[in-house]
Assembly symmetry: C2
Homo-oligomer: 247 residues x 2
Amino acid sequence: MHSPLIRKLEQSGFLTDVDRETLSSVPTHARRVERQKDLIREGDRPENVLLVLEGFACRYKLMPGGRRHIMALLVPGDFCDLHVAILKQMDHGISTLSACTIAEIPRATVEELTDNHRRITRALWWATLADEATLREWLANMGQRDANRQMAHLFCELLLRLQVVSLATEDAFDFPMTQTDLGDVLGISGVHVNRILQELRGEGLLTLRRRRLEISDVARLKAYCGFNANYLHMVPRVNGSSHAKSL
Amino acid sequence: MHSPLIRKLEQSGFLTDVDRETLSSVPTHARRVERQKDLIREGDRPENVLLVLEGFACRYKLMPGGRRHIMALLVPGDFCDLHVAILKQMDHGISTLSACTIAEIPRATVEELTDNHRRITRALWWATLADEATLREWLANMGQRDANRQMAHLFCELLLRLQVVSLATEDAFDFPMTQTDLGDVLGISGVHVNRILQELRGEGLLTLRRRRLEISDVARLKAYCGFNANYLHMVPRVNGSSHAKSL
DNA sequence: CGCGAACTTGATATTTGTCAACTAAGGTGG
DNA sequence: CCACCTTAGTTGACAAATATCAAGTTCGCG
């Protein structure tokens, strides 16, 4: 396995040095996938577990009427299908939004991990439950905020999630998605996405240009959309470096 | 534990007679809770696991601006907080929408179950993953459908979920929520809820009166909103009254 | 029988969608 | 390195969905 996963699981507060060692010695097969390719399709019963190492992917459903709705963004360190074995089949698809590097991990390997490493198991469950909490936040976000604030909220979330895997600076990150993709996340039209981005830029909150998002003033952006990071369930950073106190 | 839970877990396809026996002999303490009471508050770290036996409850967040968003409906057989132990604290609240009967199960009891009964553990995970799948469906629902179809979709889902716990007939069920509550689920104003209900009634699709929902023609309602039950991950009824030919 | 909560209705404002045309950017073969 | 071509982004005009406000009306219950 690779470092983005470990860096992310660090946030659970469960891992010890031994666990980190165990995780980093797991053998994986990484492959390169181009943009806009399905990794898993609705109805599949995937054999291996997929983990994003580089790039952005998404969970999506095709709705009656033909539009696509994106229900989750998967960034490096995120699993695509950790627990599908328990359900009979995928009820949604997963596809890449940018070129990606994907690790394939045999299901047996994951089962070996969860059978023999209690803390790693808990860390994996922590990741699953944090994903679920993120879904709830997105739902509330979509239900109660106007589109401007929805988008601001999404960017606040991504900033934190990408910082955790060392893919964002204090206030900026590479953002490979297209404006239409963004619309499919927020449930709004591509045209409207464009107008909102201009408004947010006009307010001096952020700039999205050439696939890079720069936030002018993080505190102000958070205030603008009422961002509360509690749903991400991260352990508080001590001093910039990720030194998680073991439980 | 009580029958709605067992009836629901039946849908996972994992339970054997022994498991049913084990579950029904779990000692629980049931209590009555009136309408509009918090069962768990944001920030809590609940001691016991709560299970809804009667009535409707909901997961909700209070948003900046004061509005409430309901992110999940909990009906008999649903857990409130099965896995919070892994996270540090609740990131949302749970409150009753009608008078409810709630079972309190000591966390130790649940742990004993999951330590010693592999199939019950899988059934509980099945329930958790199905909840997550429901969140995704709600998100796509809210993102891509107009409010009429959102509401129709919600009623299609509830019909199935309540049928599983024997609380709905072929085409009707008791629905204790207020129109304002419904608005808090769908993210629309109470006024608009009212108008949609009239439209749906006008179309001859359903009637909501005196806290009871009657669906005039289930197949037509499902077609109206493009309902696909796959996300509920229920096992197909073998001999059941309804040949659910998916969709 | 009366009171408060829930529901209903009309008028108007705001947000967001759709369509269609146009401009800018990135990638490819020559 | 350029010409071209495709995709992504931008703009304006207009239409549709939904919110808000305010004033009724009905329902359920003590």
